[in-house]
């Protein structure tokens, strides 16, 4: 009875793992199939080849797309963290009227749909001369990275011991010195986890990138993968699409697995409070 139950439980666990992992495994298998092998359903290609990986960098501007994504995501993370650390000190450690309301507004911004700001942002992007430039993405991504980083860092700031700040104040340190010299050195792990989550969100963003860029020079990875086309309009280069998918996903999975504990605590600090 106990043995049977244990086997059933093991089967359920195995099923969950298979369900979670299979689609990505299948993408890897597909990416290794070249030519007509793509159109046979077989668990492992009889002649595995890296031709698709070579093709995305030779026939498609995928290297350029990766660079664009890296630039946009890094810039927006750096900017968000700087703005958020300052704001988090104010929201997390200083009592003032309207603080709760402000936190709600910040949370509210991260909730509303991207499409709702599309026309206004489009106008702004054009007015600033940023259309079809990476700058348009940095600007628009702030809308979701900034509320998120502010919220999580505020939660973190609040937990830091009061005595540290008091001791610094006795020594005559002003608020700016307290933030940069006393708190910032303690925030390494929090900054890394929040920065990583914001980076992933910016790296994955699709709607703004699709709308504010037009040509390959400015396209980011998700847009490139969504729009990748082959020699003819009706024939999608599935092998290449899967190869590109694997290339961008492997580092992400690596990072997520490496930082899984911190990510889970970052997610819960950002989302579940109550």
């Amino acid at each position: 009875m106990v043995g049977l139950r244990r086997i059933a439980f093991a089967l359920v666990v195995l099923g969950i793992v298979a369900w979670a992992v299979f689609p990505f495994a299948w993408a890897i298998v597909t990416s290794l199939k070249a030519g007509s092998a793509l159109f046979t359903v077989e668990a492992w290609p009889s002649q595995p080849s890296l031709a698709n990986y070579a093709a995305i960098f030779r026939e498609q501007p995928f290297g350029r797309n990766i660079l664009n994504s890296l630039m946009a995501a890094s810039a927006v993370v750096a900017l968000s963290l700087v703005l958020a650390v300052l704001a988090a000190y104010a929201l997390g450690r200083v009592r003032f009227r309207g603080r709760g309301l402000l936190l709600f507004v910040v949370l509210g911004v991260s909730m509303f749909p991207q499409v709702a700001v599309l026309s206004g942002l489009f106008e702004l992007v054009r007015w600033l001369g940023l259309y079809n430039r990476i700058g348009s993405l940095v600007l628009s991504y702030l809308i979701f990275t900034l509320p998120f980083t502010v919220w999580v860092l505020t939660t973190f700031m609040r937990e830091l011991p009061k005595e540290l700040e008091e001791a610094a104040m006795v020594d005559g340190a002003g608020p700016f010195v307290i933030v940069t010299r006393v708190f910032l050195p303690l925030m390494g792990p929090a900054l890394a986890a929040t920065g990583l989550l914001a980076f992933i969100a910016a790296w994955n963003e699709f709607l703004f990138a699709l709308t504010f860029t037009l040509t390959d020079d400015a396209r980011t990875v998700p847009v490139a993968i969504a729009l990748m086309s082959g020699a003819s309009q009706y024939e999608l280069p599935w092998g290449q699409i899967m190869a590109a998918s694997v290339v961008v996903t492997v580092p992400l999975i690596g990072l997520v697995l490496l930082f899984q504990r911190r990510i889970v605590s970052g997610l819960t600090a950002g989302a579940v409070k109550g």
Binding site: P23, M111, L118, G174, N204, W238, L267
Partner: protein, 291 residues
């Protein structure tokens, strides 16, 4: 003290200015455009048309189809994700060998960008060369290949299935975090008293994790209501799966009708606001701010 408060506002200022610039002002403009006949080409040359855009929307069956799709998508996928997420969280919370490995595997779908997962599943659901058709035919469950993403009856369920695959891990992680905060002595006591596990779950676990569960459900629902990437990549602008976001963007960008598209986007914001108010009042969700 006063110096600190002044510094606090000074520290907040850059963040507030940026948020007002990238969120407040654009949202205001969208609502404003929704009462005009602005087009993408003539963004500064337009006329007010009152409620015309909204009246046209009300008469467009494609719009109502998009509203219906969005609501069905949100309710069904979040429902399934909550049930599955709860189950997986309970399993992850149990002490079993290889728990770390299981947790890592479950995280994989969450780590994959939506566009990539849409393409991956699009390939798996391919009508001619897809592995799903091959497996189902191999098992004898279907007699001939199906056009999963093109068939109007199958497309929305397929979109929901892909979202369930991608988002269940998020739900499971949030629920797991709540489960791990539960006091152990309560369970000890229940075990000593010989209370049936199901009863323990219903009477102790569920009420204790309810607040966290409600917040997770609210977050996922808001996410689902504004869904865009998944439909756009998996089924394009197909009417059978088009969400409100897809509809709004199609008018805004593809048809360049900024006024009309803005009206659709504004209605989406209203739907989200109503959903939030409903969740907060009916579900008594508490999002802690300021403490």
């Amino acid at each position: 003290m006063r110096q600190r408060r002044r510094a606090a506002w000074l520290f907040l200022l850059p963040m507030l200015v940026v948020l007002a610039g990238v969120a407040g002002w654009p949202l205001f403009r969208t609502v404003f455009f929704s009462f005009t006949d602005a087009t993408l080409a003539t963004l500064d040359d337009f006329q007010g048309v009152g409620l015309d855009n909204y009246l046209w929307l009300m008469r467009d069956p494609v719009w109502w189809r998009a509203v219906w799709n969005t609501l069905v998508f949100a309710v069904v996928s979040v429902g399934i994700e909550t049930a599955l997420g709860l189950g997986i969280a309970l399993i992850l919370n149990a002490h079993l060998p290889g728990r770390g490995l299981l947790r890592a595997a479950v995280l994989i779908p969450w780590a994959i960008p939506t566009v990539v997962s849409a393409q991956m599943w699009g390939w798996m659901f391919h009508d001619l060369y897809g592995v799903v058709n091959a497996i189902l035919m191999g098992l004898g469950l279907i007699a001939k290949p199906r056009a999963w993403t093109a068939d109007p009856d199958l497309a929305l369920p397929v979109v929901i299935a892909v979202d369930v695959w991608k988002s269940t891990p998020f739900m499971a992680l949030l629920i797991l975090a709540a489960l791990q905060m539960l006091p152990r002595d309560l369970y000890e006591a229940a075990r000593v008293d010989g209370v049936h596990p199901v009863k323990v779950f219903v009477r102790i676990t569920l009420p204790l994790i309810r607040p966290a569960l409600m917040v997770a459900v609210l977050f996922r629902t808001l996410d689902a209501l504004r869904v865009f990437d998944l439909m756009y990549v998996l089924t394009g602008n197909s009417r059978s799966t088009m969400s409100m976001s897809v509809y709004a963007r199609q008018y805004l960008i593809d048809f360049q009708d900024v006024g009309y598209g803005s009206a659709a986007a504004t209605l989406l914001v209203l739907v989200l606001a109503v959903a939030t108010v409903l969740a907060v009042t009916l579900g008594r969700v508490r999002v802690d701010a300021g403490r």
